[in-house]
């Protein structure tokens, strides 16, 4: 073993001791993923059903009663109130007691009996956008199913990769991205800044340890930690939420390593430049967590963003990693399909480390 490896090992070992002696860091490293997995996996479900609605039957025919029954039979909607007029439903909508109102206008049954097109009315509370869009989709679905006569226009929809559109399957890969972004960037940003603040960096510089050795030695324990986190989330995802890993495990973990190096590099760069723990934390959150959350395609599809935001999103590695994870875990894609995402990730990792090492001035100014 040569001197480089020995000195790097000494730093990595010391860093590991810091890590395991710091209850806050251990909580952040392992507790945060668990909490987030529970929150997003169980709590923040985007599967919306049992939407409370009011019904207004102005037709008063057996056909209209049957129609309203069919609308609420599937479980998407719960019939919370029967009202005489749409106006009577408005206070309920305003209070949020119901999220929508089905109105069967007078004469609907007569029109349909004559084979003319009839129209249902659906009033919708639009104050919660995502809720409303789900309700709207459900309403269109049940209306189409209930219309019967329009069977010829029936649209055969089959959702691939996540047939029942369960949100856990979508969220677990995204969670890996968010946790790796946040925890690794934050912890590395703290570790180097702490060294400066303690004055220990000067002491280190007086030893034969080189800057590459400091950086590699400091990153190694966090690479290991990131792997444990990835393993934890994928395993729990598989057991608790049946999230599949259809592609190669090797590809999944090697791309995770690549992404990890990107985020560790960002954390390192931040702390090398700021040399201050407080500032580091803030910059690390803005520079890693927010892009991972908002610009990765996890919550908002990138394709729908304005061109400027799309350009910004393409700079952050999170979006590529989200695509890779969805590809390897859900679609079973291989390198041949994913290289356009892997390449930018590798480029980012190389650049950020190179800049961090260069900026990490060996001398004390």
């Amino acid at each position: 073993m040569n001197r480089f490896l020995r000195r790097t090992r000494a730093i990595a070992h010391k860093e590991m001791l810091h890590l395991i002696r710091d209850p806050g860091a251990v909580y952040m490293a392992l507790g945060v993923p668990l909490v987030m997995l529970a929150l997003f996996g169980y709590g923040v479900s985007v599967d919306i059903d049992h939407i409370p609605i009011a019904v207004v039957d102005q037709d008063h025919t057996p056909a209209s009663r049957r129609l309203l029954q069919e609308l609420t039979a599937g479980g998407d909607f719960v019939r919370a109130a029967d009202l005489p007029s749409p106006e009577a439903a408005l206070p309920l909508l305003g209070r949020g007691d119901v999220r929508g109102v089905f109105v069967v206008p007078e004469g609907l049954a007569r029109h349909r009996a004559r084979g003319e097109p009839g129209a249902l009315q659906f009033l919708l509370d639009g104050s919660d956008g995502s809720y409303a869009s789900v309700a709207l989709g459900d309403a269109a679905g049940v209306a189409a199913a209930a219309s019967g006569a329009s069977a010829a226009l029936d649209l055969p929809i089959r959702v691939r990769f996540n047939p029942t559109l369960r949100s856990a399957i979508d969220i677990v890969p995204a969670l890996i991205v968010m946790i790796l972004s946040m925890v690794s960037t934050l912890l590395t940003a703290l570790t180097v800044a702490r060294e400066w603040e303690r004055g220990a960096m000067e002491q280190l510089f007086a030893t034969p340890v080189g800057r590459t050795e400091i950086i590699v030695g400091k990153l190694l324990p966090y690479v290991g930690l990131g792997f444990v986190q990835t393993l934890l989330i994928t395993t729990l995802g598989a057991y608790l939420f049946d999230v599949p890993i259809r592609g190669s495990l090797l590809l999944l973990f090697s791309t995770s390593l690549l992404f990890l190096v990107c985020m560790l590099g960002v954390g390192l760069l931040v702390s090398v430049v700021t040399k201050n723990q407080m500032v580091s934390v803030q910059v690390a959150v803005i520079g890693s967590f927010l892009p991972a959350m908002l610009l990765s395609g996890f919550i908002f599809p990138i394709e729908n963003m304005p061109a400027l935001l799309q350009a910004i999103a393409s700079v952050f590695p999170a979006r590529y990693y989200v695509s890779i994870l969805r590809g390897t875990m859900l679609k079973g894609s291989g390198v041949s399909l994913l290289w356009p995402q892997i390449l930018p990730l590798a480029l980012f990792a190389f650049l950020v480390l190179a800049v961090a090492v260069t900026r990490f001035s060996r001398r004390l100014a």
Binding site: L17, R21, P208, L364
Partner: protein, 312 residues
């Protein structure tokens, strides 16, 4: 190395327009305890950092342990030990772990590292404290741990930057006994301090003032060069009253010294009794005693000369 561990010639360091170190030259012999004195901001720490290869020089030449530090600052690190001002140990690590880490940083490993660690711990009285977290130890012991980290790799020169700041007097004395032993074993010690009583432990002193090396020599040489004659210490009288009452006596200088006054007189000038009589005659009863010239007297004289000389 011709017996000289450190050779500094016309060393200058500028920060923008500010000259922190101005044409400083001195040598330190192998095995010598060399003290570097001066007020805060006088250029002590800057000089020491340049010597350790932590800061580039603006001009001049520096040789430490036979290495040209100006041209190859990294090469010097293997041969020196450095204990920085705040003795920056890792508080969440134990004494042993700190030592293992710094040993590893110097490329030591395995049985050699363990042997050295045990030896140094025994030498500095840390053997029983190996598994204690540094955070739980008092300042005086942390200081010894920091010294242990700096000498683990048997450097030929040890740099100590204000090693005793924030440490109680008993620990300071014990620390200096350890330094003495190290020097006796052939290690060169370069130490900055602003405790003038500690400077007495040094074999030779350099006195920095406003970036210049204002004085250089053994403590005895410095006393004779800057504060020749004898020193009288007077209690119970103000500086103006003394000047008025003793106007007839040839006093070389009068300096406030704590609550007392230090009056310097020629070797064959007035004695304590003469001064006491003169003060009594003027109606100012005071205690007067012969006292030794301290390094603080030297320091005050040098500082005054620098200021009078336009800040060097």
């Amino acid at each position: 190395m011709d017996g000289r561990a450190i050779r500094v010639e016309k060393l200058t360091r500028r920060f923008g327009g500010f000259v922190a170190v101005n044409e400083v030259s001195f040598d330190v012999a192998q095995g010598e305890i060399f003290g570097f004195l001066g007020a805060n901001g006088a250029g002590k720490s800057t000089t020491m950092r340049i010597l350790c290869g932590l800061l580039p020089a603006s001009s001049g030449s520096v040789h430490v342990a036979g290495v040209d530090v100006v041209h190859d600052p990294a090469a010097v690190r293997r041969s020196i030990g450095y204990m920085s001002q705040k003795f920056s140990l890792y508080l969440d690590l134990t004494v042993d772990e700190n030592l293992k880490f710094f040993g590893g940083a110097y490329g030591l490993f395995g049985r050699d590292l363990r042997g050295r660690r045990e030896r140094v711990e025994a030498q500095l009285g840390l053997a029983a404290l190996g598994s204690r977290l540094v955070a739980s130890l008092p300042g005086g012991i942390r200081q010894r741990v920091a010294l242990a980290c700096a000498i683990l790799h048997s450097p030929s020169i040890v740099f100590l930057d204000e090693p005793t700041s924030g440490v109680d007097p008993e620990s300071r004395r014990a620390f200096w006994r350890l330094i003495r032993k190290l020097a006796d074993a052939g290690t060169t010690i370069f130490v900055t301090t602003h405790y003038l009583d500690e400077a007495e432990y040094c074999e030779r002193l350099g006195l920095m003032s406003a970036g210049r090396l204002a004085a250089l020599g053994t403590p005895i040489e410095l006393r004779e060069a800057f504060v020749p004659g004898r020193m009288l210490e007077i209690h119970g009288v103000g500086i103006d009253a003394l000047r008025r009452s003793a106007a007839g006596l040839p006093l070389l200088s009068v300096e406030p010294f704590g609550a007392a006054l230090h009056v310097r007189v020629d070797r064959d000038g007035p004695g304590a009794d003469d001064l006491r009589r003169a003060l009594a005659a003027a109606g100012v009863p005071a205690q007067v005693a012969e006292t030794g010239v301290t390094l603080e007297d030297v320091f005050l004289t040098v500082e005054r000369a620098t200021i009078a000389g336009g800040g060097g």
